[in-house]
């Protein structure tokens, strides 16, 4: 087990190294001069040259790359072109906002999806099940931004139940510290994006759980469990659902990746100041250090999610042995 963890960790490091390298060269391949936003072409050529030297842009590309890797190791992502603040500092708070929205929402989506999917399989053929599958398929195919806009239109504008965006009422918490996250105002702002994201993300685990359950229900051990005189609930959740969870666990990293990527959409629609929105802002303002760091962070989260899912699989299926 320790050996497996070590090897798995090493793989993670390699993957992230490859990601970082790709990111570095991709940004250098972008058309135009990204430094133009900071080093204004209207400056004297001498001044421009001096600034290039200061940023290390006069050195060979490979040397720049090594410098970039060294800085990554000490979590130094450089300074934002736009605000001149350290990128690391800017990202920290944004990451927390994203995780506060995405993680509970994914947790709820997976939990509800598994339970509802299991019950749907049990009630196969009933009118309720047919309606549920239709709705889930439709929801899953709908664009997330459109769902978000509809939700804002209905719940925020028509019914006036929720604010139309932002993390708290502007001006209420000038310090933006931990008190903000514990306030009712924060929860009130969190509710609608949370619900929309959960509803959207719920469809995949629900449909997957239902279809795996359907094949599990036909297994001999389900019939035996029933013959043992176990209650239907016990047969459903203790035996059938327990087995159907396995494919769900393997898809978790994929879904986490989608969710983080999806945070770009949901955060933009709800003006949620998270990592996704930061990324959009950074790209539209050509703030490359920030965009680069945000991309990298999303990669880290996805790789880490895959790792967690691997461990989860071994926990759920005794046939998997880490060697």
């Amino acid at each position: 087990m320790a050996g497996y963890l070590l090897r798995r960790f090493w793989h993670m490091v390699l993957t992230l190294f490859a990601m970082a390298t790709l990111m570095f060269f991709l940004f250098r391949l972008l058309p135009g001069d990204p430094t133009a936003t900071v080093i204004s072409p209207s400056l004297y050529p001498k001044a421009q040259e001096a600034m290039r030297q200061q940023f290390g842009l006069d050195r060979p590309l490979f040397e720049q790359y090594l410098l970039y890797l060294r800085n990554l190791l000490v979590l130094d992502f450089g300074f934002s072109f736009q605000t001149n603040r350290p990128v690391f500092e800017m990202i920290q708070g944004r990451l927390l906002n994203t995780l506060l929205l995405i993680l509970p929402s994914m947790f709820a989506a997976y939990l509800l999806g598994a339970v509802i999917g299991a019950i749907a399989a049990w009630k196969r053929g009933s009118a309720g099940e047919v309606g549920l599958v239709f709705t889930a398929t439709a929801l899953q195919s709908a664009p997330l931004f459109w769902l978000g806009m509809l939700a804002i239109l209905l719940f925020s504008i028509k019914l006036d139940l929720f604010p139309i965006g932002h993390i708290v009422t502007p001006g209420l918490f000038p310090e933006q510290d931990w008190r903000m996250y514990l306030s009712a105002d924060f929860l009130h702002h969190l509710a609608l994006p949370f619900l929309v994201n959960t509803l959207y993300q719920l469809c995949f685990p629900l449909l997957l759980m239902r279809s795996t359950m359907l094949s599990t229900i036909g297994e001999d051990y389900i019939e035996l469990a029933r013959m043992k005189g176990l209650s239907e609930r016990r047969v459903l959740f203790g035996h059938a659902a327990r087995n159907a969870l396995l494919p769900l666990a393997t898809t978790l990293p994929m879904i986490l990746g989608w969710a983080v990527a999806g945070s770009v959409v949901i955060e933009t629609v709800f003006s949620w100041p998270g990592l996704g929105l930061l990324m959009v802002e950074a790209i539209s303002r050509a703030d490359y250090p920030v965009a680069q760091a945000a991309f990298l962070l999303i990669a880290v989260l996805t790789v880490f999610g895959t790792f967690i899912a691997d461990l989860l699989c071994g926990l759920l299926d005794p046939r998997i042995v880490y060697a």
Binding site: E219, D220, Y221, E223, L224, A225, R226, M227, K228, G229, L230, S231, R234, G238, H239, R242, N243, L246, L316, D317, P318, R319
Partner: protein, 345 residues
Amino acid sequence: MLPSDTHPLLSITGLAVSYGTPRGPASAIADLSLEIGKGENLGLIGESGCGKSTLLKAVMGVMPDNARIAAGRIAFQGRDLVAADAGFRRSVRWAGISMVTQSALNALNPVLRVGDQIAEAIRAHRDVSRAEAWRRTEALLTMVGVAPERARDYPHQFSGGMRQRAIIAMALALDPPLVLADEPTTALDVVVQDQIFQSLRALQQRLGFSLLLVTHDLALVIENCERVAVMYAGMIVETGPTRDVIRRPTHPYTLGLKNALPRLGSRDEPIAIPGGPPDLTDPPPGCRFAARCPFALPLCRTEPPALTTVAPGRQARCHRAAEIDALAPLAALPQTWDALRDAPR
């Protein structure tokens, strides 16, 4: 004396089960009657698809959604299970009638410990603590010849024989008066098969349960059951003491089965019964075996024979049961069956 003691342990009368299919209902079991007494071993034999498994499912009350009991009763200790409410049915499952299933590999849930799967059966019926159920589980495994510490293992860590033993331990967990065994050893090699049956018989001596052994292996029935019922296309065609039925069958189908059994020291090739079972969505109006029977008369194709007593304790469902002594020597000849093969109708 309890009133239930005056009844046979399990008594099935006039049972009919049909499956809903796209082509109409298929009559999987028709007019089936069986009786098993206390401590008795009954072998139920028949080819694949003859309704053996359907019968077991009907008795256990776990029939698929498209199956329906059209007629008859299944009385356990005198109480009808067909008409019983769900609560009573559930209490009879496992505590009254348990089952050793076919293919122990798929019958055990791969992600749960073997011991937990046995213990949960105990806890579903008895109000005992987890620790107590676990102790009982370990004792059961010891009883069937599996080391008790293996209770913590998962099914994939068990060999095929051990899995089957675990299933037997599970079946005996609540000391049921009746155990159904559905092809319990088909997936195992002959040596293990023999070991399993030896311990099953030893356990039966000790615990006194009755056994309904369902199989397509005539040899197993001969070795293990004092009475046998032969099933064909959803009906019992012959029943009686195993020795008598094998020595002197009174139904052409049983004669055919006996022919298909390879005999040690005999140079004769086993003879197969030509053809296949009838389409049960449209069963023939007369005898269900008539199309494959070398002795079928015109009467057999129009008039269904009834199960009649041919000798004390023996019944057969054949219009020509009385002439069987004259027909049996013919049935031992390959050309009798070949004639059918050459002229299929």
